[in-house]
Structures are given as C-alpha cells and as structure tokens.
Amino acid sequence: MAAQTVTNEPRRLSNAYQNWYRFSRNPTAVIGAGIVILAILAAILAPWITPYPEHVGAVVNFRARHLPPSAEYWFGTDNVGRDIFTRVIFGLRISLLLALVVLGIAIPVGTTLGLLAGYFGGWVEIVIMRLTDIALAIPPLVMALAVAAVLSPDLINSMLAIAALWWTWHTRLIYSITRQLRAQEFVEAAETLGASKFHILFREILPNCVSALAVKTSLDAGFVILVGASLSFLGLGIQPPTPDLGTMVASGSAFLPDYWWESVLPGMAILVVALGFNLLGDGLRDLFDVQEVR
C-alpha cells in the first residue's frame, strides 16, 4: 500500500454558508427574515392572492358595510363595504414601495457624502458634517408637513421630504467607519500604489461598510414604514380609494370601538412588517458583530 503523502485539507465551508448557519441559529432573526420575505412576496403577488382585488378601486357595497371578520371577509369590511384584508395587502405595496424610494435616495446620497467627509477631511468634512447637523435639527415629520404646506399634501412629496432628511443618518454612519478605516494599512497601501481616489473610496473602503449598511438599511426600512404610516395617518397619504395602511387606521378610528377591526387590523399589519425588518436588522447586527449601528 503506497503511503498517501497528499495531505487532505479539511473542506472549508464557504463564507456565505457559515453566515447562513450562524444566522439560522438565531430564532428572532429567522422570524424577522420570514416576515420580511412574506411581506414582500405578498405585496408582489397581491392581485393574485387576495380574494377581492377589485376592492382597491372605486367599489362600494353599502349593504356589506361594517361587517366583522368572517370566513367571507377575513378582516371584515370597512364603511363602504370593501374587504379589509385585500386592502391591507395592497396597502403593504405602498408602504414597501415608499421604503424603497426613500432608502433608494438616502443610501447612495448618504453613503457618498459620508465617504467623502470621512476620507478627505478638511473643509469637505466640515461642510458636510455641519449640513448633516442642520438637517438633523429638523424633526422629519415637521419637515414633511412643511413640505406638504408648500407643495400639495400627498404621499410622494412627504416621502421626498423624509428622504431629504434621512440621508443624514447614513452619512454619519459611513463617516465614522471611513474615519476609522482611513488609518488602516490596506488604505495606505492602495494610496502608495497610486490608486485613484475613486478606487480607494468605492473599491477599498466601501466594501468594508457593507455589513454596517445592510444592518442599517434593514432597521431603517422598518422606521421609514412607520414614519410613512404616521404621515398617512395625519392625512398626507395617498388619495382614496387607493389603500394605504396609515390612512386606513385613521379612517377606521372614527368607528372605534364598535368596528375596531377597521382600524386595529391595518395597524397590526404596520406593526408586524416593521417588526420583521427590526428583527432582521438585529439579527444581521449580531451576525456581523457591528457595533456602530444603533
């Protein structure tokens, strides 16, 4: 028998699989991820999985108004007889879409500004960070209301107003990470090798921010949904009859406590979705062991 001289390296599990394994050990994180995935799927498949998809349009059925939850109408009906379950699922679409819009603006803008401020320092840093301070001094809801006063009070304008303030959180986060990384060796090495600023910022530093970004985005999605719902609740939502979770809670509140389902069930939907993103974010934070993100 010839001696085997080839040493067998134990097969290393891939990084992704390791992360997945650790993540799945965390029950709350899994629940969070589950909720988020379910919500996104439900939103995408809404027209096909809801029992009364036409109820998001101008349908009125006064004979069926204010019905309690039943087999026919899982979440009951509202004041003009529309199925609440269907409208909640479609309302999720709006909420998720808006989270996408706000974060879609806030993340690129905030990250870029944070990178610039953290890497270049000097007056670039001062200008950007002071701008951030000013933006942070305005409560987002107040800003949205002021914008609503200037332009017309609808959800798009309000969310743009929120986005105009939301980038600040990302800027601060990326800024503090960049500052720490700036002094690291691999950055010095890249600089010595003559890499372009663009390369250093986006190819060296940014990848190290990804985990923090992932955590923050996930947590943020939940909060953006809450803020959006608050704005709709105040009356800055989508015009009827398009369903919107915050508006539904506000509408339904006129009928408390008798027809509680009209207000409580959409509210619970908001809560559950926000919960999902929150748990997911927490799980990711534990996974990547990211400390800076609140």
Binding site: L131, D133, A137, P140, V142, A149, S230, S253
Partner: protein, 340 residues
C-alpha cells in the same frame, strides 16, 4: 478648563446649526405658492386691500431683505403676526408650547422611570425570563407606530375599562389657568389645587405613555447592554470579591457609568419624539403646538409655520446641547475627544 472650552465649542456649533435652520425654514416658507395676503383677507377682498396687506407684510421686498427682517424680528423674540388669528405668533406658540412641553417632560420621565429599572432587571437576570420579557417588550414598543399605540390605549383605557380620560389636559368643566410655568402639574401644586393636579396627571398618563413607549424600549435595551458591559469590568469583580452588598454594587457602581448611553439615546430619539408628539396630540386632542402647527401649515399661515418649526428646531438643539454637556460632564473621555 477643558470643560469650558468643550462647552464653548458645543454652543458655537449649536448657534451655527440654528442659523442654518432659520435659512432653510425661511426658504421653504417663501416658496409657498398661493398668496398669503389674499388668503387672509378672503375671496371678497378688493385688489387694493390685498396690495395694502402685501405692502404691510413686506411681501414685495427682495428676498434677502425679507430674510433680514425675519432674523431681526427673531432676535427680538418677535415671530411676526399670525395671519389667521391676528395675534403675535409669540402668544399663540407660548400658549400651545407649554402643553407640548409638559407632555414631552412627562414622556421623558416615564421613559426613564420605567426604562432604566427594566434595563437593570434585564441585566441582573440575564438570559432568564425577566430578560427575555424586557427584550420582547422593547422590540414591540420600538415597532409600534405611536398613533397605533395611542389609539389602542384610547380604546383600552378609555372605552373598554373607562379608567382614564382620553381627551384634553383637564376635564372640560374644570377651571384652572397655569400662568406661572405653564405646566399644569407644577402650577396646580404651587396653587395648592390638588384636585387639578390629580386631573392633570390623569390626563397626562395616556398620551405620555403612548409617546414614551418607543423610547422606553430603547432605554431599557441600552441600559441593559451597558450594565452588562460595566458588570464585566474588573473593578466590579473586585467589589463583588470584597463582599460589597448587591444593591450598593448595582446602584452606586454600576448604574452611574451606565447612564451615559441612555442619555445619548434620548438625544438621538428626540427628533422622532417631537415628530410623534404631533400624532399623539391629535389622537388625544391635546391642545399643544402640534395641533397648532398642523392647522397653520394647512392654512399656509407663513409666520405661524415658521414659528412652529423654529421653536421645534430650537427646542431640539437646546436639548441636544444639554445632553451633550451632561454627557461631557459625566464622562471625561468625551470632553477630551472634543468634537464628534
């Protein structure tokens, strides 16, 4: 000495921020489409009347000059006249701000009074059921939208159990004017009116709780984690080894350094606190600045809108300044590190 320079620097930054804020607000307000003069006079006004009011309000002057008027007015404490109520915005805001301020104070008090002990308990019995309970509560309170919490509390305590009032600061047939501090709770005690005090507190409970939930949860979590960090420190081990009784160990040695993170959290949460106050005030018909702000925003009452946003901004900046100073006072490392 370094504390003073730290203080000086923080104040300077704050002033800069406020100036920037005023420019932003002014810019927004002036972009408003629709003529505020026409709105105030109503649809039957003649062109001359509208022109006269425009002149009076200085709406025809160049933008920079209008900003100058705005700033000089601000520095005198004059926020202009509300077009709608025709009273100085000052007066309107002073009346409503006291209500909001009292609500926010009650909220912060509740958040700390319940948040910190919960965090301590969670840390003490880490990984046992109190810990899990607190963490679950904290998560739920963070994701519940304030308006939803407000509505639920209203239903539960108001309609179902009938134990707490759900609107206003006092019962509508109770006479009392808080003219010393503007805070009903404080003024009623000073005036010796215990019945008013009782009612004021009862009316505060639901809105303050609805508002405090999210912050309470965050504070509990942060207190818990910082207590855990602190308890693993050497000097705590030493004190345990020396037989220092547990209550003293917890309250004297562990709690004080753990106080910094909750304070910082409060500073960060404050913006959303003000924002959520708007919603909660609406649900509970609380006569505060939020309701006033929403109404004037919808009616494009320029001076009033700018006043509300300015006051909110100043309030926010001052509170953050206060917290930064407190933190700097408690934790020397922050002072030395200086700017953020």
């Amino acid at each position: 000495m370094e504390f003073l320079s730290f203080l000086f620097r923080r104040v300077l930054w704050s002033l800069l921020v406020l100036v920037g804020l005023s420019i932003v607000i002014f810019a927004i307000a002036r972009v408003v489409p629709g003529d505020p003069a026409r709105m105030a006079l109503g649809p039957t006004a003649t062109a001359e009347q509208v022109a006269a009011l425009q002149e009076k309000l200085g709406l025809n002057k160049p933008i920079v000059e209008q900003y100058g008027m705005f700033i000089s007015g601000l520095s005198r404490g004059d926020l202009g006249r509300s077009l709608l109520t025709e009273r100085p915005v000052n007066d309107d805001i002073r009346e409503t701000f006291a209500a909001t301020f009292e609500l926010v104070l009650a909220t912060i008090t509740l958040a700390f009074v319940f948040g910190v002990p919960l965090g301590v308990a969670a840390a003490r019995w880490k990984d046992k059921w109190p810990d899990t309970l607190v963490r679950v509560l904290a998560i739920f309170s963070a994701v519940t939208p304030s308006f939803f919490a407000a509505l639920l509390l209203q239903i539960l305590a108001g309609y179902v159990l009938h134990i707490l009032p759900t609107t206003g600061r006092l019962p509508h047939n109770m006479e009392f004017v808080a003219n010393i501090t503007g805070l009903l709770t404080v003024d009623s005690l000073i005036a010796g009116r215990l019945d008013v005090f009782g009612q004021a507190v009862r009316h505060l409970l639901l809105p303050a709780t609805a508002l405090a939930l999210a912050t309470m949860g965050q504070i509990a979590r942060i207190t818990r984690s910082s207590m855990i960090d602190v308890s693993s420190q050497d000097y705590i081990e030493a004190s345990r080894a020396f037989g220092v009784p547990e209550p003293i160990r917890v309250f004297k040695y562990m709690l004080r350094p753990s106080f910094v993170p909750p304070l910082t959290i409060l500073g960060l949460e404050f913006a959303s606190l003000i924002g959520n106050a708007f919603v909660v005030e609406l649900v509970f018909s609380w006569p505060g600045m939020a309701a006033y702000g929403i109404r004037t925003i919808l009616q494009k009452d320029l001076n009033a809108v700018m006043g509300v946003v300015m006051v909110s901004g100043v309030f926010f900046v001052l509170v953050n300044l206060l917290i930064d100073v407190l933190v700097g006072f408690v934790d020397p490392r922050v002072r030395i590190r200086g700017s953020r």
